[in-house]
Amino acid sequence: MKNKWKNLKREMKKNRQLYFIVLPVVLFYIIFRYGPMYGSIIAFMDYRPAKGFFGSDWVGLKHFSKFFNDTYFLRVIRNTILISVYSIVFSMPAAIIFALLINEIRNSKFKKTVQTISYLPHFVSLVVICGMLKEFLGSDGIITSIFSFLGGERKNLLMVPEYYKTIHVASGIWQTVGWNTIIYLSAMSSIDQEQYEAADLDGAGRFAKMRYITIPCILPTITIMFIMKLGQVMSVGYEKILLLSNTANREAAQVISSYVYDLSLGASYPQYSYSSAVGLFTSVINLLLVTLGNKICKMLNGSGLW
């Protein structure tokens, strides 16, 4: 043990420039990522700002049991998980397929154009996107018109709870698919070209090359992206929900984070402790999912996040 410590000291002295460079990042994580975790203790208190962290009363797991008995507990959990699962199931393959397609384009000018255009929605503010969606999905909006032309009923699509998750996930895919291809494209660009040449000699066509070379080579990247997504299953962002939900579709739209927002920041009587308890609960589940996902991926194809 002592030896190790000594080794570390020598190592730090030797590479002090490198350690100096990494210092700001380490500090950033300590101050802005680990420091605030201390605030999670208010989940076990009846926190009153005026009394502060140290003066508030400890109440144990009161807020957690309150959440499990909450009328809306099952509903927000179900909505959160469903929206997450749909996003993973549809948006990951969409990005991968799109990346494969872009990768096959030989004309570099055309390729660049396609890429740039597909990145653009990523930079549009979510408020603007949701404003457009509301317009398009109204009873006389363009999407509704197409929908009713194809045989659907003409009504405000945002007022139908059954459609909410589709709208949420589909618009999400439209907005992020281009941006999400970046990481896959970079993985593809690092594939050894000799493999393709060898395959050409063997008479492999484009699909065969895609299937037997490209996809296996980017599989580690896909695995990492998948595990990272698992870590966010319980945390669907509240911004889009706040912008798109209404009393008619809320039963399908309310997720954990929007519920926490309503209870804490949006309310005139903020329930700090309760919403912290809910937040802490989701973080723990997320952590469990990442660990579990990592284990399973390692077992299945031998590569994981750590």
Partner: protein, 551 residues
């Protein structure tokens, strides 16, 4: 060669300087404030000795001030620090105020965050009545100070005069313990109803009908709009206008979706039998296409657009942003468009409407309180500054701005100048008022009726104002004052209300859209009583109400 090196090192120096300067400006405020504290200490020591307003040149007291920045002000200014009339007031009162604003739309959020880190300004404008546990709890928690002793000392003579002369106003800014928590926006003989149902007068003429009064009239008019004129969505509203705070059609059925008063008892309208009647009618209107089918997805913008583009004939809106803005916008594209206010709906001809968007003499928002962060020696100056807005001179400044710039005296009456009414930079009247005055904002000071009379430039606006304010007395019978349950109760109530609101809104939506039959209304009420504990919520409200009226 040498030159090049010199150049390099010079530019490096320059860069470093810029960086350091950047850091310094970021935190440059602090030292300045500290200096001011010691200065003002001297000043206030002098003045407390004499205990009389001194004639000698006062030293400038620096104060920090937190306030929402009004949307109309945002159109031309980024901060109240740049508003002319506020500069004048500061000069008169020998204070130097540094304003801080939360980003618009995030006021509650920012305030809640402020309460967690207690990074307070000297003076803060907020709806203090909605502080958890009420304003009295904010004082007990050491957030704001009790102004009563300072008012007794004579630090705020103008405000004291108003409170002494109007006990019902004093009641609305005094806690059960007799503490006074803020300098509140007060309207004396002013306009207390600025919103209501607005209808297209030109459509009425086309179908040859009178402005509707009863529910039956409304149904006839909306049907005529639909059938004779082909109006797609005759009545356009937002969610709140049908099953929430602005649902005054329910008033015709003698109920209100939310808490209200009947014979001194707090009621929750959603469990009334009358509410079932109301829902039945609304569901029918919705089914018949009289109500906008998108109603639950609408926002203010869609409602205005529906009116502007002849898709709708009636809506719930404000005299300013409803009648005024829409008619102004329609001037070129749709010159025939004329909007008039209608009286609040009743059941039978001759009934008196009780339910209307009446706002109390003391406005809930924008109440300026002095926080505990304000040093003792600055309190007198802060009080004097806030009190100034209740003087004749200050009131004129608040409502009309600086003389010669935004108003002129005509026959002894202030009259907005062309700078406001026909702004050369093309600002609308509301935006120009937001640039030069705080007339339209809930903030410390008096709200002047003359502001409304001049702001409403279109005859239809004045008519609506007179119609809606003709008989507001019945509203006081049913409107719940801003009551504050005790801290423990407030937390419980917040929890109950959060769940209740979600449930009643979602179910009411289903009832109106016809997704749930009204024969299930009794189940709905039973669920509210059994699973959502609505009776406990009413009990808390009733106790708080009784504490309010007994003070």
């Amino acid at each position: 060669m040498k030159n090049k090196q010199l150049w390099k090192s010079l530019s490096a120096c320059a860069l470093a300087t810029v960086l350091v300067a950047g850091c310094l400006t970021g935190c440059g405020k602090e030292p300045a404030n500290n200096e001011a504290t010691s200065e003002s200490k001297v000043a206030s020591e002098q003045s407390t000795e004499t205990a009389q307003p001194t004639e000698e040149v006062k030293e400038i007291v620096e104060l920090t001030y937190w306030s929402a920045l009004d949307a109309n002000t945002q159109a031309s200014l980024t901060s109240f620090n740049d508003m002319e009339m506020l500069k004048v007031a500061q000069e008169v009162m020998s204070v130097d105020i540094d304003f801080t604003h939360p980003a618009s739309g995030t006021e509650t959020e920012q305030f809640n965050l402020k309460m967690t880190n207690l990074n307070l300004e000297d003076v803060m404008e907020y709806s203090w009545g909605s502080y958890p546990g009420g304003a009295s709890q904010a004082i007990a928690d050491g957030i704001i100070i009790d102004l009563a002793p300072y008012i007794e000392k004579g630090y705020a003579p103008n405000y004291k005069k108003i409170l002494d002369e109007n006990p019902h106003i004093a009641q609305q800014v005094t806690t059960d313990k007799g503490e006074i928590w803020a300098f509140a926006p007060i309207s004396l003989n002013s306009v207390d109803v600025t919103a209501g149902y607005i209808i297209r007068e030109d459509f009425l003429k086309e179908v040859n009908m009178e402005s509707p009064v009863t529910i039956a009239d409304w149904e006839a008019v909306l049907t005529a709009f639909k059938e004779q004129l082909g109006i797609e969505k005759p009545l356009t509203l937002q969610t709140g206008g049908l099953i929430g705070v602005n649902s005054y059609f329910a008033g015709a059925f003698d109920t209100y979706p939310g808490y209200y008063l009947r014979d001194g008892k707090v009621q929750y309208g959603y469990i009334d039998d009358n509410y079932k009647e109301y829902l039945t009618t609304m569901a029918k209107w919705y089914k018949d296409g009289l109500i906008d089918q998108d109603v639950f997805g609408n926002d203010t913008k869609t409602v205005s657009n529906n009116i502007l583009t002849d898709k709708s004939g009636a809506f719930f809106g404000y005299i300013g942003s409803g009648i005024g803005t829409i008619m102004t916008n329609a001037k070129e594209t749709n010159p025939d468009l004329s909007l008039i206010g209608t009286s609040f709906p009743v059941m039978k001809e001759g009934d008196v409407a009780k339910y209307m968007p009446y706002s109390w003499n003391v406005k809930a928002g924008g109440q300026a309180a002095i926080t505990t962060k304000c040093p003792e020696e600055k309190i007198e100056a802060a009080m004097a500054y806030l009190d100034y807005w209740y003087s004749e001179e200050g009131s004129l400044l608040k409502n009309f701005g600086v003389e010669g710039l935004s108003y002129n005296m005509v026959n002894g009456e202030p009259q907005y100048s062309d700078e406001v009414l026909k702004n050369p930079d093309g600002l609308s009247i509301a935006h120009a008022l937001g640039k030069y005055t705080r007339a339209s904002q809930a903030t410390v000071g008096l709200i002047d009726r003359r502001y409304y009379e001049q702001y409403y430039q279109i005859p239809q606006q004045v008519d609506a104002m007179n119609l809606w304010n003709a008989n507001t007395a019945p509203a006081i019978e049913v409107k719940l004052p801003s009551i504050a349950p005790s801290e423990a109760d407030a937390e419980e109530l917040a929890g109950l209300n959060a769940a209740l609101n979600t449930y009643v809104q979602e179910e009411s939506t289903k009832f109106i859209m016809g997704l749930r039959g009204l024969d299930e209304f009794d189940d709905f009420v039973a669920t509210l009583k059994n699973s959502y504990n609505v009776e406990r919520a009413l009990e808390i409200q009733q106790a708080a109400y009784e504490a309010y009226i007994s003070k």
